[in-house]
């Protein structure tokens, strides 16, 4: 079995007894140890725990035959709690935090036979689009190590793209699963808001946060989603909506499905090679019988300002809990004083525990929620959020999915946008709307730039209709070979 084995291939081999879960997981840990030093994808490898769990799977052949992810190694973005295993959000303020419980999404993967082999690097508290704001240092793109892998789930994307694990979990607040998936040449799926429980996900912006899978193939993403989806008594925002058989939706038949193209949104600022790959991808789908329909999303162009007002407001509130009392790190008092007063301890702990991007967003969010600006910024942004939702509701009266490039450009160089936060934020132009509207969206590889950088196609669907975008993406994947290509650095 090669490094590029899919979730389904590994699961089938382990179920049949052709491979032991212990051997599969030991090899995944070996690959991480061999490849990670140059890529920085993983911040913790949990070999001993993984091998113990794999041995339990090997010891119970009857049980594993019914496990949809038997023996599948998985990397977990380090914003998802894992009981007894350090969970840091790639932040100094949580550097020693060991959660007393496991996130529901992770627990469901484990119950299905998946084996956690480690924690994946990410932007600090998932705030970033490049995995450069991590307190552990950046992750590098395996297709071009001088470039960023995207973010914030950059470690998860690189773990899959570089063949360390066939499956990784990410979180997506404004594109943090789809954008790194696109820039690393893999599949990333953000489900509908409420489809997958957020219990145990360290909160960034609660009305925008989602948990989802990163995989090499669309079928693997469908499988992982099926395992994680469904109501959870520990998350009041998780949906009771029935969970369909996502794998059964992958029929290859897209005849007469209507794919919306918001041409005006794509007018400006898209790299010509990205545009070309996108247009070619639409042609592939229409040649399979899908129909192309022009749609208008008049307010989608305002998604970035709305997103950065709403997300930072929610973040400033959610991150107030990190104050040096409950979660490990507390700044020592100055040499001059024996003990700080309480307020000074809070402010100093947060000053030393948070990095620059997190501080910037807490500052922005605090400002937009403050007296005198609340209505002008926060309420206004929430009203425009309503208009963006309505745009999509109207579009979905005419089409079954909306297609855009996942990102306006391929991966940029490390450091290129770090000193200009606004430039970094503008790169999220095509991904944030799905978070604001709570709609399912995925990225599937759709080509390469002339210098060999991956490009992604994003499909957005109706609320709770992941099945249709998975079907379209799978059909596209059948007619193309992008997902079979492997990066040079592995």
């Amino acid at each position: 079995m090669t490094d590029a084995a899919t979730v389904r291939q590994i699961r089938d081999a382990v179920r049949r007894g052709d491979r032991s879960a212990v051997a599969v997981c030991a090899e995944a840990c070996d690959r991480i140890e061999a490849r990670n030093p140059g890529l920085g994808a993983m911040t913790l490898v949990t070999r001993d725990e993984a091998l113990a769990r794999a041995a339990a799977i090997d010891a119970d052949p009857a049980r594993r035959r019914s496990q949809p992810l038997a023996g599948v190694p998985v990397a977990i973005k380090d914003v998802l709690c894992t009981r007894g295993i350090r969970t840091t959000a790639s932040s100094r303020i949580l550097a020693s935090f060991v959660p007393p419980y496991t996130a529901t999404a992770v627990a469901r993967l484990e119950a299905a036979g998946a084996v956690v082999v480690g924690k994946a690097n990410c932007d600090e508290f998932a705030m970033g689009s490049s995995t450069e704001t991590s307190a552990f240092g950046p992750t590098r793109n395996p297709w071009a190590p001088d470039r960023i892998p995207g973010g914030s789930s950059g470690g998860s994307a690189v773990a899959v793209a570089a063949g360390m694990t066939p499956l990784a979990l990410g979180s997506d607040t404004g594109g943090s699963i789809r954008q790194p998936a696109a820039l690393c040449g893999i599949v990333g799926l953000k489900p509908t808001y409420g489809r997958v429980s957020r219990y145990g996900l360290l909160a960034f912006a609660s009305s925008l946060d989602h948990v989802g899978p990163l995989t090499r193939t669309v079928a693997d993403a469908a499988l992982a989603l099926a395992v994680m989806a469904g109501a959870d008594p520990s998350d009041a925002t998780s949906a009771r909506e029935p969970v369909p058989d996502f794998e059964a939706a992958l029929t290859g038949d897209v005849r007469d499905l209507r794919i919306g193209v918001p041409a005006r949104l794509l007018d400006a600022g898209v790299d010509p090679e990205v545009s070309a790959a996108y247009r070619t991808a639409l042609d592939v789908l229409t040649s399979r019988g899908a129909r192309r329909v022009d749609v208008e999303l008049p307010h989608a162009g305002f998604a970035i300002p709305v997103y950065y007002l709403v997300a930072t407001a929610e973040a400033s509130s959610n991150l107030a809990r990190y104050d040096g009392v409950r979660y490990g790190f507390r700044a020592a008092p100055d040499a001059s004083s024996r003990q700080d007063d309480l307020q000074t301890m809070y402010a100093r702990t947060r000053a030393r525990g948070f990095g620059p991007e997190v501080k910037r967003r807490i500052m922005l969010g605090t400002y937009v929620l403050s007296a005198g600006y609340y209505d002008a910024y926060y309420v206004k942004a929430q009203q425009v959020r309503t208009l963006i939702r309505r745009d999509y509701d109207r579009a979905f009266e005419q089409v079954d999915a909306v297609a855009v490039p996942t990102t306006p450009t391929p991966a940029f160089r490390l450091g290129e946008r770090l000193s200009d936060p606004l430039q970094m934020y503008l790169g999220d132009v095509f991904t944030v709307a799905a978070n604001l509207a709570g709609l399912p969206a995925l990225s599937v590889p759709c080509g390469f730039s002339s210098i060999g950088l991956p490009i992604g196609l994003q499909l957005t669907g109706r609320r709770f209709d992941e099945a249709t975008i998975l079907r379209i993406a799978d059909a596209y994947e059948r007619d193309t070979s992008w997902s079979k290509l492997e990066p040079p650095t592995r």
Binding site: F97, Y193, L309, V325, D341, Q383, L422
Partner: protein
């Protein structure tokens, strides 16, 4: 605050956010927050008269469940990450608040 942030304004926001900033951070954030808000200010041009705000995209009511007593986190586990705790008494310890 398009048009610029003064140092005093940045310090006032930092106090609300419980963040100690050094002088270089105050300068940096004054400039960057002004840039970001100037960009964000484009939302003001949209007519939102009568448009309700979206705080959550949930369409149905929150998923209620019966309020049954069930085991929660063990208190020692919950205290285990605290930098200063009195585990036996079940308390987090913080600097003295009352003189």
């Amino acid at each position: 605050m398009p048009g610029g942030f003064t140092r005093e304004q940045v310090n006032a926001v930092a106090a609300l956010a419980q963040l100690e900033l050094d002088a270089s951070e105050v300068e940096l954030f004054a400039r960057q927050l002004a840039d970001i808000l100037e960009y964000a200010n484009q939302v003001q041009q949209i007519d939102t008269t009568g448009v309700p705000p979206t705080a959550s995209v949930l369409t149905g009511p929150a998923a209620d469940r019966p309020d049954q007593v069930r085991p929660s986190h063990d208190r020692r586990d919950a205290l285990a990450n605290a930098p200063d705790a009195v585990a036996g008494a079940g308390l987090f310890r913080v600097p003295r608040v009352i003189g």
